[in-house]
């Protein structure tokens, strides 16, 4: 790990300002992703701003019947919250399907959204990787790509986003709230938070330098059956090969987002209009522009079958 200086931020504004004004600065929340990558010198911040004591650890009702989740709410606490369990079960289920009890006790809402890919070549600093070292190439394209993305990919990068939580939030139309270094705030629909790789896979989201996530807002509950189905190589403590987050209404309409298959939570509102007609048509549209590798083409069929199983479960 490279040396760095450390400060514990005491206000939101000071944290954002310090992050924008200090070369090589990064926020640290739970640290479960950042420290992992710093040990491998994939992340090399020279200054860490600890945002754990900013009071952003509350879950509060919003005036229009939704919930505002503080950026520092731990994954365990979010999944255990009575309102989340009752009205946003999809989110509780997605959180509980991720990582381990110990990790969820530290992992935060904002950190989970911004966690980086688990592409094996991103982690192996001896390999070319455009995300880790822009312009060096992509070892995954001709390599071991079984886990990686099939849609939203580019010739430069086929990494997938590893979060379970974010997939549920995408299906729930969550809004990410931030504060910028000049003190202004903005609200970013979760659909617009992450960027597709294109030819700049090292730029993963739309946040500006120093921009701090303060909360994630869930709109008022939509009802329906909430199902999160995660398919992985072992039954627990493993990242998704494919996951489906679905809200299915009595009449068969609903929402679907998929995880494990793209550089961001993958949802197509036009495709999901076909939900009453079953999984096949929805999947065909959702994956219309897929570019799988030989090794991960199985994910196309797996998405359809997982969605099919989810719809069967929803029908009871």
């Amino acid at each position: 790990m490279r040396a760095f200086s450390y400060e514990r931020a005491s206000t939101i504004e000071a944290a954002a300002k310090a992050a924008a004004g200090t070369d090589g600065a990064k926020f640290i929340a739970g640290g479960t992703n950042l420290l992992d990558l710093m040990k491998l010198e994939i992340e090399t911040p020279t200054h860490l701003i600890d945002v754990n004591r900013l009071g952003l650890d509350r879950i509060e009702p919003t005036p229009d019947g939704g919930l505002r989740i503080g950026a520092l709410v731990r994954n365990t606490d979010l999944a255990a919250d009575g309102r989340i369990r009752r009205d946003y079960a999809l989110l509780a289920r997605a959180l509980l399907a991720g990582a381990s009890g110990q990790l969820r006790n530290r992992a935060t809402t904002a950190g989970n959204l911004l966690q980086r890919t688990r592409c094996p070549y991103f982690y192996d600093t001896n390999q070319p990787c455009n995300k880790r070292q822009p312009g060096s190439g992509c070892a995954a394209l001709g390599g071991f790509s079984r886990q990686l993305a099939v849609v939203g990919v580019s010739d430069a990068c086929i990494a997938n986003h590893p979060s379970d939580m974010a997939v549920a939030m995408r299906a729930l139309d969550a809004i990410v709230e931030t504060v910028r270094s000049d003190g202004t705030t903005r609200s970013i629909p979760i659909a617009d938070l992450h960027r597709l790789p294109g030819d700049t896979p090292h730029i993963e989201h739309v946040l500006e330098r120093g921009e701090l996530i303060t909360a994630v807002v869930l709109p008022k509950p939509v009802g329906g059956k909430h199902i999160y189905r995660k398919v992985r190589d072992r039954a627990s403590y493993a990242f998704a090969l494919v996951s489906i987050a679905a809200v299915v209404m009595q009449d068969g309409t609903g929402r679907v987002a998929a995880g494990g298959i793209a550089p961001k939570p993958w949802r197509d509102e036009a495709a999901e209009r076909g939900l009453p007609n079953g999984a096949k048509a929805v999947t065909a549209k959702l994956l219309a522009n897929a570019h799988p590798t030989e090794q991960n083409a199985f994910k196309l069929a797996l998405v359809e079958r997982t969605l099919s199983a989810v719809l069967a479960e929803a029908r009871g």
Binding site: F4, R8, A80, Q102, L103
Partner: protein
Amino acid sequence: MQSLGVLEISRRDLLVASAATVTVASTASLSHSQTNAPAAPQSTKTSFTVNGERRELQLDNRTTLLDALREHLHLTGTKKGCDHGQCGACTVLVEGRRVNACLTLAVMHEGESITTIEGLGQPGNLHPMQAAFVEHDGFQCGYCTPGQICSSVAMLEEIKANTPSHVTGDLLARAEVTPAEIRERMSGNICRCGAYSNIVDAITEVAGRKV
């Protein structure tokens, strides 16, 4: 450009090496003179409570909670397996909650209270979970055991507090202690020797007494 790259690598290696061999104060000044890092200290005075005792340490910011416990406080009961959050051997309790000590910095725990396996119980005064692991042969080599025990003690508290898990059927019902729940909730603790079934038995016995 080539030679610049080499130079930077050797600087970095020097830094890494220096952190291990020289005193904290000179590490900080060395790194300031040799990199463009901001002129801020790279070590921090940190105090927290470990097993009921207040400890104060001047630590390189890079020191994980795990290394602070093992290398600085010589509490070597907590083990380092993977050092990347993947095995659970380093599990300790921070403010009563189980965490991977390898993926958190010691400086982030200023003022907090930490419990390690040494604090749960000692020879002659075992914690019920320690006694149950012995009774049920819940280990073979024993390397994962301190992490398993710390994890299971906090895990039962999580069930008591009605925290759900991936295998909880009804999110609105009370969390229960079942073998399936124990297995899922303990999945963050890997046992290379495969003592899992005896570990589940040990935890089940303690849960029967307590929960």
